[in-house]
């Protein structure tokens, strides 16, 4: 495990690119509204995500970001175009593409522990092994001692920690995050961003992270995709050339932020 870590960190700094894990080709999604008029939510979307990469999707609300995530999770079917996961078309929703929702997607009748163990039901591990794994993930997301609490008894930040743990435990091939920290207060959000960076160091998951916060995108992402409205499409694909540990005061950071803000204003 630890040798693997070193390789992961090394390869990110090095030049050898990771293989492409998610391919989106000319993806289009249209809706028929109640007055039978067609609205195009997404038009001819094309982009790739490489393994272990964290891509932030940045755009104003109502530009189709959530629609894109729902398509990638398999909850919606595309009107046209393909989504290829490891070269194979995405079929039905399942643990391969897991989503962390914005809020309130935990099962309120299950404890923290049971919520995290929920997805393991199809796993052939013994009860004891599962128990151990769940305990390990509870500790990883910093919830030791809260295993037997119900969702309504813990704070919003802690709920999102549970939401993260219950999908990470399944080792999804790609992790979809739909503005997961948007509903949290500034301090908690910062803590959660730190946690996410820590988890990336440990597991190196592939992540597509939707946000409308430029700072958040630049703090977390390896790449930032700018999303354009009407119809939803990607206007810019920006590589974030910043070191692993980032500071908002960093010169390059500030320059990138100014540029992205200008680009967003133009749209």
């Amino acid at each position: 495990m630890s040798r693997q870590h070193l390789q992961i960190i090394h390869s990110r700094q090095g030049t050898a690119p990771e293989p492409v894990i998610l391919e989106v080709n000319r993806l289009t999604k249209g809706y028929i509204s109640a007055d039978s008029e067609q609205t195009i939510a997404l038009k001819d979307l094309t982009f790739n995500i490489r393994q272990k990469e964290m891509v932030c999707l940045l755009g104003r609300s109502g530009c189709g970001k959530t629609t894109l995530l729902k398509l990638l999770a398999g909850f919606l079917k595309p009107s046209a175009g393909d989504i290829l996961l490891n070269g194979e078309p995405l079929s039905h929703p399942g643990p391969a593409c897991c989503m962390v929702f914005q809020e309130d997607a935990l099962f309120p009748w299950l404890t923290v522990k049971e919520n995290i163990a929920f997805g393991l039901i199809n796993n052939p591990m013994s009860r004891q092994q599962k128990q151990q794994k769940v305990d390990q993930f509870i500790e990883l997301v910093g919830l030791s001692g809260f295993g037997s609490y119900l969702p309504r008894e813990i704070s919003g930040g802690m709920k999102q920690r549970v939401a993260l743990a219950r999908v990470l435990i399944l080792q999804p091939r790609i992790l979809l995050m739909d503005e997961p920290f948007a509903a949290l207060d500034a301090q908690t959000r910062e803590q959660m961003q730190k946690l996410l960076q820590e988890l990336r160091r440990q597991f190196a998951p592939t992540i597509l992270f939707v946000t409308h916060d430029v700072n958040e995108a630049l703090l977390l992402g390896d790449r930032v995709l700018l999303f354009d409205k009407n119809p939803g499409r990607i206007s810019h694909d920006i590589k974030v050339a910043l070191p692993q540990t980032r500071a908002v005061e960093h010169d390059t950071f500030l320059r990138l932020r100014t540029r992205i803000n200008e680009l967003l204003k133009d749209e």
Binding site: P93, P95, M99, D104, L110, N122
Partner: protein
């Protein structure tokens, strides 16, 4: 005694004040014979008749020691009707709450049927099923069906799509999603529906038994009216109220015992 203690004492005693006052009024009215005894029996007489009805030797009088027999007859009818209503109403309600087509198919018909007062079915039920067991079970099932169905429907409908999607994403197939996501998430509504259904079951039990069946708590009340034994009528009413209440508590406890979601969400 400090203030908090007084508050607790007050909270505990408040619910008992009204029954106690009513009982006292009844006692005073009867003792001074303000209302003739054939309209309102003396509470003391009700107590004696009640004890006799429950504990007495069956050989010694019309109503003595009949309780166990009547209770068994009634509870079987209630449970049969209630089970039937649950077996049909619960799945249909969940389906109708989740699938628009089922809702369209059933919704208006069931709402029209619901508008018909349950008593209207009595004559028809008597023709179809005769006097007694089947008619009573039919009426109970029919009456209990609607609250169970409607609440299951409402419960299934209000389950957030996110929770269902989360279940799918975590690897639940269609059947598991029903048992492990949909039903637990709808549980608070389901419990409400079942409890309402159980309550109304007792009401319609009495209706079904008023039609001349030989045994059952409702039958005893009607029988006692013919013989002018209003003390027995009151004994019957009190017993039905008590047993109805016990059934409700028992049902709630049973659901909480069997389902995590009922325990944690209600």
């Amino acid at each position: 005694m400090n203030r908090v203690d007084t508050n607790i004492w007050l909270q505990r005693s408040l619910p008992w004040i009204l029954p106690f006052v009513l009982l006292l009024c009844w006692y005073l009215i009867s003792s001074r014979e303000l209302i003739p005894i054939y309209l309102l029996p003396h509470p003391h007489q009700v107590l004696i008749s009640g004890a006799d009805y429950i504990l007495g030797d069956p050989e010694k009088g019309i109503y003595t020691g009949r309780f166990l027999n009547d209770f068994a007859a009634s509870i079987i009818r209630v449970l049969m009707g209630f089970t039937l209503a649950t077996a049909i109403g619960l799945p249909l309600g969940l389906l109708s709450g989740r699938l628009e087509k089922v809702q369209l198919l059933l919704g208006s018909t069931l709402n029209a049927l619901r508008a018909v007062p349950g008593i209207c079915w009595l004559p028809l039920a008597l023709i179809w099923f005769g006097i007694g067991f089947k008619t009573t079970v039919f009426l109970v099932a029919l009456a209990a069906f609607f609250p169970i169905f409607l609440n299951a429907e409402a419960g299934a409908r209000q389950v957030s799509p996110t929770v269902i999607q989360a279940g799918t994403m975590l690897g639940m197939n269609y059947r598991r999603r029903i048992y492990r996501v949909l039903i637990p998430a709808a549980m608070p509504h389901i419990v409400t529906g079942l409890r309402l259904g159980m309550g109304i079951s007792w009401a319609y039990l009495v209706l079904g038994e008023l039609t001349g069946v030989p045994d059952g708590l409702g039958a005893v009340i009607m029988d006692a009216r013919m013989l002018g034994r209003n003390d027995i009528i009151i004994v019957g009413i009190i017993l039905i109220a008590l047993i109805g209440r016990l059934c409700d508590t028992g049902l709630h406890l049973l659901l909480r015992l069997c389902f995590k979601s009922a325990r944690r969400l209600t």
